[in-house]
Structure formats: C-alpha cells, structure tokens
C-alpha cells in the first residue's frame, strides 16, 4: 500500500524568534535575523518528522518536495530519494515559492501534505490549496496562533503514520490564524482568522461528547446547532461570530454564513453578512441581541482574535448576559485545563468578562468554563 506524501519546509521559519524579531515575514526581516546571528532550525525539526515517517513506512513511501532547502535537502540528509517538484530556483525563499510548491504537489496527487513553518507558512498553504486536501503542520515558526500543527515534530510524524495507515482518514477543519507581524514587532497584537486547513486527527486522540449522538465533530456540531436554533425564534438579533461551529448554526437555519465574518440573523433569517463594527452598531440600535462566539481552537480566545468586529462597544451594547459561547467538547478539552481568554482591547471589559461562564457543548448540554 504505497503512500505519497508532500513536504514543504520553510527554511527560515522560526529564525526570528530566538533573536527577538517576532517572525520573519518579509525579506528584510530575514536579513535582519541573519545579521543578528539566527540560524535556520526549521530543517532540523522537519527531519525529525520525516525521519520518523520514513522509518515506519519503509519502501512504501514516496515524498514529493521542492528543491533545496525547501525539502529536498531534508530528505537527502536522511538518505531518502524524493520526487523533486515545484519552483526550480530559489534564492531567498518567499511566500510565493511556498504557494507554487503547494499547488504543484497537490496537482501531482498526495495522501498528505506536511509543512514545516509557522502561521505565515500556514497562510500560504491555505491560499494555495484551500480547505480540501489533508495538510499537517510541523511546528517550527515563531508565531503559532493557528491550530493546524502537531504538538511537536515527533508528534507530527506519529500522527502522519497513524493517519496514512488508518482505514478511516479523518480530518478536521482547523483555524489558520496570523497576526500582523509589523504591528506585533511594535508590541501590538492583532490576530486575524484567514481560513481553515483540513488537518488529520486520529480516533484515539479524539474526544467525543460525554453523552449524545456521536463521537465525531459532526454529531457534536449538529447538537450545538439544534440547541441554539431552538432559541432563535424570538425577535432578538443574533450575531454569529466566525468559525465552523457557528457556521453549523446557520446551516441548520438553512441560511448563508461567512466563515470568517460576523453575520446577523433575525427570526431565523440572515439580515446582514460580513458585518463591520459600524454595521453591527447600526443594527443594534434599540434592538435586544445575542452574540454567539466560539473560542479559537487550541488558543481559547473568545474575543480579540479573528473577530475584532465584535468590538468593546458592540459587546457592551449587547450585554455580558447575552453572550452565548459554543464549542465542541473536543475543542474545550484541547485547551487542557487552561481558561478561555478575552482580549477585547478594553481592559475594563476584559475584567468584567472574567470569571465563569457556560459553554454550549451539545443539545441541551453545557459546560462551565473559567474565563480570564
């Protein structure tokens, strides 16, 4: 049973971190990192994953990878003979090379695409291949706000082996997040949700509902959507934040939902899609409303990451008691006991939101979570 795996290494990912540069997006930053004495560590980390994968797959594994530092070198150093594909010459590796390589590998056909990098690389992958083919991140970057990575390079290899050898290759749509590096270097955090990659997960690592219809995400999402739509019959305005969990609610209504945007519904019908803060404030004028948000997977942020339209003014207008948080049990347990987070941009509001709140985890099911 031969398997084809794509590999893309962003060789400069992670370089900025140890020299305090907060990311290497942009050629200037790479040069500054080099000048500060940064050495590429991404390839070493990627070779841990690839070595483990190759060792456990034997002759059955074919690796497709771009030339040189973008993957070929890693393979050769492990004694592997990859199919070299994608951009032919690379001087200073940039985002465009990643995108070209990703498209070429997916067009050639692979069972899984591995990439070594951080949030910038994840964004490039998402732009190139979208939410479709299975993609798994080997964490080597500085910024790791996305939830598309295995916990470490070794775990990436292990997950890849399990995924490739399983009869049921299951994936989850996982968030691709990134912050504005320029702002970050100036000390401001401004994270955006860019989209979703289809990331493998293994059954034994999956947590299902404590009770209810299924162990997988789909069953849980259906339950959450049923719970929320049951309450959406009144006259209140319902503001659904971004995400696949909130999308399930709109799908149950039979209405459109922007995956990355904030959308408004009234009496079960969409009234405004991809609303800005100003749109929201205008609709909220004198109207009772509810906000439905879901925490970012692996991070736990409720506000201030990927949903800045839900500004402090909007949140205050709607009222703390009218915030409805939804999340699968799988997502909550993935936080490993850490609290949910708010970073609304208004420290007073953040303090008011701290404490305990209920999270809808299924049909008529809730879980009490700490917020800080």
């Amino acid at each position: 049973m031969s398997k084809r795996v794509g590999l893309i290494v962003n060789p400069i990912a992670g370089m900025g971190g140890r020299v305090g540069l907060k990311g290497t997006d942009g050629v200037d930053a790479v040069e500054r990192a080099r000048a500060l004495g940064a050495v590429p560590a991404s390839s070493d980390r990627a070779s841990v994953t690839v070595g483990l994968l190759a060792g456990r797959s034997g002759d059955e594994l074919t690796i497709l990878t771009p030339p040189g530092a973008m993957g070929e070198q890693v393979c050769r150093s492990l004694g592997l003979d990859p199919v070299v594909i994608g951009p032919q010459t690379i001087d200073v590796t940039g985002a465009e090379d990643t995108r070209i390589a990703a498209r070429a590998i997916i067009d050639a056909g692979v069972d899984l695409l591995l990439f070594a990098g951080g949030d910038g690389t994840a964004r490039d992958l998402y732009e190139a291949v979208g939410t479709g083919p299975p993609v798994l991140g080997i964490p080597t970057g500085v910024k790791m706000h996305s939830s598309v990575y295995a916990t470490n390079p070794r775990a990436a290899g292990d997950l890849a082996v399990r995924f490739l050898s399983s009869d049921y290759q299951l994936c989850r749509e996982s968030e691709v997040m990134d912050i504005d590096e320029k702002a970050f270097r100036e000390g401001r955090v401004s994270a955006r949700l860019y989209g979703y990659l289809n990331v493998p997960y293994h059954r034994s690592l999956v947590q299902g509902l404590k009770t209810g219809s299924g162990f997988g995400g789909a069953g849980e999402l259906t339950g959450i959507a049923a719970d929320i739509t049951e309450r959406m019959t009144g006259g209140a305005l319902w503001i659904l934040g971004p995400g696949t969990t909130t999308r399930a609610i709109a799908e149950r209504l039979g209405e459109k939902k922007t995956l990355l945007g904030v959308d408004l519904y009234s009496r079960g019908e969409a009234v405004s899609l991809d609303a800005s803060e100003q749109d929201l404030l205008r609709h909220l004028d004198g109207q009772p409303a509810r906000i439905v948000v879901t925490p970012i997977g692996g991070q736990g942020y409720l506000f201030g990451r990927g949903n800045q339209q839900l500004s402090p003014r909007v949140i205050r207008r709607v009222g703390k008691e009218n915030i409805v948080v939804v999340a699968t049990t799988w997502k909550l347990t993935g936080l490993d006991g850490e609290p949910l987070l708010v970073d609304s941009g208004d420290a007073d509001l953040d303090r008011e939101l701290a404490g305990y709140l209920r999270v809808v985890t299924g049909y008529h099911q809730e879980s009490v979570q700490r917020v800080s």
Binding site: L52, N152, R154, A155, G157, D158, V161, S166, D167, Y168, R203, S204, V206, Q207, G208, L209, K210, T211, G212, G214, F215, G216, T329, W330, L332, T333, D336, G337, G355, Y356, L357, R358, T361, H364, Q365, E366, S367, V368, Q369, R370
Partner: protein
C-alpha cells in the same frame, strides 16, 4: 523480581456458529407425539396462537450436540476474564472475585424455579431476603429506602433523575427547574440519564486538583437547578473533599443531590451518602457487592433515597406487615416501572450472602484493602518513566487511578492503545482507558480491588515496566502487538463508526451481504 509470564492464548480459528453445521444435521430429535396425546389435543402445534406462530422457521444452524459443545468451549478458551487472570485492568468496573458458593445459592431450585407471577404466599423466602437486604443498604448508606428493580447502574441513575423530576413537579417547580449539574469525571451516565429525562445538563470541568472548584458550581446553580448528579470518588480515584459544600450549595438553590456510587468500593463503611448531604444514591451490586458482571449474570442497580422521596421509588416495593412480606403496588406517587417484574433478584440474593459473610467490619476491610492495593499499585506505576499521574492530590487516591502514557508517547511514539494491545501478550486483560470526555491524555485506568494479591499487582508493575522498556528498545514489537493473543489484530477504527457496526448477524448480512464471508476469510 517478578517473572514475566511465558504465555500464549488458545487460537481455534473458529467460525461463527451461524456459519457452521450442515443441512439435516441434528442436535436433538423430539419424540413423536404419542397417540393418546394426539387424540386428546390434536396437533400440539395448534396450541400456539396464530399470531405468535412463525411463518418461516428461524434460520438456526443445524448442528450435532458435540459440535455445539466444542464450539462454545473453544470460544471460552479464547476469552480472558477475571477467573483466569488477575483483573485490575478494568478500572471503574470494580472487578473482584465473586464467591462460587453464591453461584451455588442462585442455582438452587428454590431460587432458579421461582416465577415473578407466583403468589406472595409462596415466595416469602426471597421477599424476606429483599426486605432485609434493603435494611442493610440503608445502614451502609444512611438512606431510608431502596429499590432493586433497576437492572444496572444506568437504569438506577435514570430512576433517580425521574425521582428528581417528580419531586419538583409535585412542588409546582417542574417547568422552572430544568437543569441538572454534573462533573466531567463522573460517569457519563450522570449526564446521559438526566438528558433522557428531559433535562439540560451542565458539566463542571475539573480544577487544578482534579475536582471542580466551588466557584464553578456557584456559577452553575440558579433557580433553574433541579439537582446535582455526581460520582465521588470520581473516575480519577480522587475523593472530592468539598462534597458537603457541593450538596449544601445545591440544596440552598432548591435542588436535590443524587450520588452515583458506582465507585463505592473504596468507601464502604468509611463514609455514607447521607453524611455527605445526598438525597438519593445508587450502588451497583454487580460491582461493589460482588455480583458477577459482564457475561455471567444479570446486574442490579440498587437505588436509595431519603424518607421524603421514598414514595417516588419504582413500584412495587417489598413491604412487611408484621406477619408476612408482600409486593406493595399501592404507591400512587411512584415514578412507575423501570424494569419488567422485579429486576434481577438473584443479584440481591448473591449480595445478601456476600454482606452476611463479611459483616460490618468485613465491609470496611474490603474498602481498606482495595485502597491499600490501589496505592501499592500506584507506587509501582509511579516508578515507570513513561507513566504520568495527572493532578496533585493532597491525600491518597481511593480505589482507582487514571494514569497517562503521555510521556511515553512523546518520547517513543508508543501510546496507550499500543500498550493495551501489548499487555495481553503477558496474560493480562487489556485495560480500560477512559470515559468521555478524555481529559487525561493517553489514559488508562486501573482498579485493583480487594481481591488481587501483592504478587498479582507486582505482575502488573513488571509487565508495564517491561513494555515501557520495549517502547524504547524495540518499539515495533509493541506497535504490532498482540503476538500471543487469540486474535492478532482488529481494526479498532470502526469501533467509533456507527455506520460500520453490525450488532446482530442479521444486521451484518444486511449491511455487508455476501461480502461478510469474504472479509472474515481475509482476516483469518
């Protein structure tokens, strides 16, 4: 040093019984109907009412008696249970020795020939035993009444949810109080049962010590709270020391508190449901009280409550008028039937005999030995580098521990499912991992009840220590396990996929058709 067992399970390559036999093969030929009988009643088959008679005979395998006997003996040789291997593996299940003398009791004709529709006058013996065993459980728990009708822990917990519902309804608060609070490390049935009873369920997640923080509970209670349904000690083996505060807060909010006592083996004779402020509880006779469970017999969830709630218990209850015992059906407030007839009364007989054999001091000794065994096993596991024990505890764990192979997974790529498959190569039963939600990564849960000896537990320690070493020196052996079991390897991925299941032979044929036979041949 403990020797690892050189073990190989029986392998019979035995087909399913429905694939065996041949047309015309007979196990038993009933004699022809005697002429005198025919004259009296005609064709005996005509006595079966038309609507009950099959139009097509069932497709049963046609087999000779020795073939049938051989088939089931072979299957029995390929099983691994707690009568053939020490079973500290199935944490949360309280696997303990069930005295064989009690099996003799339930097979006596005085018991096995009883029928639930017999007149009370002819069943005074078993009614007296049920009545007296109820008194024993009241003593053990501090509750005031018990039912033995539920045929398992889940039905008993469902009955408790129904009693909570009936209580609030009678007080006119049934619509307002629509929420039940539970905890993430309670058994999932403490969420599922109230959900089936129509409640919205609020789960408290564990705090840093493994049990929920009081502030989380305070944030959850309201005028909508109908009750609290929780386990203690929880699945981690950690006893929530704030349980009296928990029940007080819920009572102050107007709710009732139901204690899931499936994990009672470490607290018998030590602490009681009533002392912790609970209004309802349940014991699993098939766990704590030594009734065999699994394939060996009907189980029983004994449901207890306070005087105030006793009128809601399922009907009928055994009553005593000073002279005779009888089934009391005149109970207008009862939630009704949870199970047909009287449940599994043979479970009550076994438990009654078991409690009498131990006495009050013996029951406390059961709990103390179970806790000692668990802490000894924990001391062995704590020395294994790949094992982690999540949550700091101020004192000892009670009857079980939920361990984690997370360090081993990170260091070697070998996880809990791999170890579980490998341990059976040494003659130990594969362990229980975790209920949902999985809060301890790469989990496994061991519960060495009072039954198992120090030598048994040393064997567990040695086997896990060996596998931990193998994971580092020879991971492929672990990854490809089992090597010495009756079955080499099954595809467990299908376990969580309802569209892959077939619960019956007919379902299997319907889902897979003729492919079914091919799949099995390939597996062999």
């Amino acid at each position: 040093m403990t020797r690892l067992r050189n073990f190989h399970a029986a392998q019979w390559d035995e087909p399913l019984i429905l694939d065996k036999g041949s047309p015309g093969e007979r196990g038993y030929m009933p004699p022809a109907v005697e002429p005198a009988i025919s004259e009296a009643i005609g064709n005996p088959l005509s006595l079966i009412p038309d609507e009950m008679r099959r139009e097509v005979p069932p497709r049963l395998p046609e087999m000779a008696q020795p073939s049938v006997l051989r088939h089931y003996l072979r299957l029995s040789q390929m099983t691994m249970g707690c009568h053939i291997t020490p079973d500290a593996s199935l944490g949360t299940c309280t696997m303990k020795y069930s005295p064989q003398g009690n099996e003799h009791l339930v097979r006596m004709p005085e018991m096995s020939d009883l029928h639930p529709l017999q007149d009370d006058e002819t069943t005074q013996g078993i009614l007296e035993i049920i009545y007296k065993f109820e008194e024993m459980l009241c003593e053990i728990s501090g509750m005031d009444a018990f039912t033995f009708q539920p045929a398992g822990g889940s039905p008993a917990i469902f009955a408790n949810a129904c009693i909570i519902r009936a209580y609030h309804r009678d007080r006119g608060e049934g619509d307002q109080r629509d929420e039940i609070i539970s905890t993430a490390f309670s058994h999932p049935i403490d969420c599922a049962a109230p959900a089936v009873a129509g409640y919205r369920v609020i789960t408290l997640m564990p705090g840093p010590n493994g049990f929920p923080e009081l502030d989380a509970l305070k944030a959850a209670v309201s005028e909508r709270t109908a009750g609290l349904m929780m386990t203690n000690p929880e699945d981690t083996g950690i006893f929530n020391p704030q349980v009296e505060e928990f029940t007080r807060i819920v009572h102050e909010a107007g709710g009732l508190c139901a204690y899931d006592q499936a994990n009672a083996n470490g607290i018998l004779g030590v602490t009681r449901a009533c002392d912790n402020g609970f209004d309802l509880c349940q014991f699993n006779l098939h766990k704590t009280f030594s009734v065999p469970h699994g394939s060996t017999g009907g189980s029983c969830g004994a449901g207890g409550c306070t005087d105030e709630l006793a009128k809601y218990l399922p009907s009928p209850m055994v009553a005593f008028d000073g002279e005779r015992y009888f089934w009391d059906y005149a109970r207008p407030h009862s939630i009704g039937k949870i199970r047909s007839f009287h449940g599994n009364v043979q479970a009550v007989l076994r438990s009654y005999a078991w409690v009498l054999a131990h006495g009050a001091e013996g029951l406390r000794a059961v709990a103390e030995t179970a806790v000692l065994n668990n802490n000894y096993l924990q001391s062995l596991l704590a020395q294994i580098p790949g094992v982690d024990i999540k949550y700091e505890t101020q004192g000892h764990r009670l009857q079980e521990v939920r361990y984690s192979w997370q360090p081993l997974l990170e260091e070697t790529g070998i996880g809990t499912e791999d170890v579980k498959r490998r341990m059976v190569d040494f003659g130990l039963q594969g362990y229980f991992t975790s209920h949902h939600p999985v809060l301890v990564p790469e989990p496994f849960t061991l519960e060495p009840s009072e039954t198992w000896s120090k030598a048994d537990l040393d064997e567990y320690g040695a086997v896990f220590n060996h596998i931990d070493g193998e994971a580092r020196s020879d991971p492929e052996t672990v990854r490809n396990a089992p090597h010495s079991a009756s079955v080499r390897r099954i595809h467990e991925d299908a376990v969580d996929e309802p569209d892959q299941w077939a619960m019956t032979w007919r379902g299997w044929k319907r889902k897979y058709g003729e492919k079914a036979t091919n799949v099995r041949t390939a597996a062999n």
